[in-house]
């Protein structure tokens, strides 16, 4: 080994798909939902914060159309947390907004999700109810839109 050990951003990520999907659900969760779910999984939660929870800004880039040139759209508040459970798992979260409690709890969920022991419980008690609510909200919105749908049609206009 003679090269500095830099993480290679181009390297294919290990199978992070399911973990990413779990975090995507947590990103849309309300803080009390995560709180209640976690209380059912493990009580009390024993962890240390590896880094103090902190809020910062990230630049959001946009493009107009698929082939537009990227431009800086604006900055968004992002809160990040990193925790280590007493059992050793390390969890991270980066969430839009300034809710420190939510970021901390999401990082705890991420850490617990990684342990074989707790993954099912996290899926069942935390993620499933949130997924359910999101699906309900989506259906409701779709139904509202569907109720006001107007179908236009043209009668055949004939000269003869």
């Amino acid at each position: 080994m003679s090269e500095p050990q830099m993480p290679d951003p181009a390297a294919p990520a290990p199978d992070t798909g399911p973990r990413r999907a779990a975090m995507a659900v947590l990103a849309q969760a309300h803080t009390p939902e995560i709180q209640q779910g976690l209380a059912a999984v493990a009580d009390p939660l024993r962890y240390v914060e590896l880094r103090p929870v902190a809020t910062g800004l990230v630049m959001v880039r946009g493009r107009i159309g698929g082939d537009g040139a990227p431009f800086n759209l604006g900055e968004a508040s992002v809160t990040r947390a990193a925790v280590r459970m007493d059992s050793g798992e390390v969890g991270f979260s980066y969430l839009l907004g300034r809710d420190h409690d939510k970021a901390r709890l999401a990082a705890v969920c991420d850490a617990l999700w990684q342990s074989e022991r707790c993954r099912d419980a996290i899926e069942r008690h935390v993620l499933a109810p949130i997924r359910g609510r999101l699906a309900r909200e989506r259906t409701e919105k779709r139904e509202q839109a569907a109720a006001t749908r107007v179908d236009f049609f043209t009668l055949v206009r004939g000269e003869d």
Binding site: P4, Q5, M6, V48, E49, L50, R51, P52, R84, G88
Partner: protein, 194 residues
Amino acid sequence: MLAPAFDDPALASQAVFRTVMEALARPGLPRPLVSKLSVPPPLSKTAAAVALTLLDYETPFWLDHELAAAGEVAAWFTFHTGAPQATDSARATFGFVSDPAAMPPFDAFSPGSLEYPDRSTTLVVQVASFEHGNALALSGPGIAGTRRFSVQPLPPDFRARLVANRETFPRGVDLILVTQDAVAALPRSVRVGS
């Protein structure tokens, strides 16, 4: 297991930075440095505080044999500072030495170039005390007259190494020496008398 870093990163690293800066400004004058970090051994609390303050993603760090053997030290540095580990000491911006008696010669590290003398390696050396050991008579910038400075432990030819380090000025390595509760510095500008 990964350990936390400063409770209050901004204020704590500013305080450590100030202390290290004053130590470098007055070579051979130990300054008190209090660190409450819990760090993976054999890293010392004070060396860890210096590392958290000075390292970032642009400064590859090198660890001596004992520190590198404890893989947790490199993981801890990388997690909290984002700095990459350099396995080649000549490419490191900071070198950490936990066993000073066995430290590599200064020419194993980067002395910078004449155009960019700042691209040199800064060595952070964990020592036992500033009260025992053979006294070095220091002079140069930051020292009115001469100052006697003792460090223990050090390699037997340490004085000759410092003299050689001064001869290549403005190139050369800077040393930050840390005990359990204090920090002192020997920048490359220091002259060593007999």
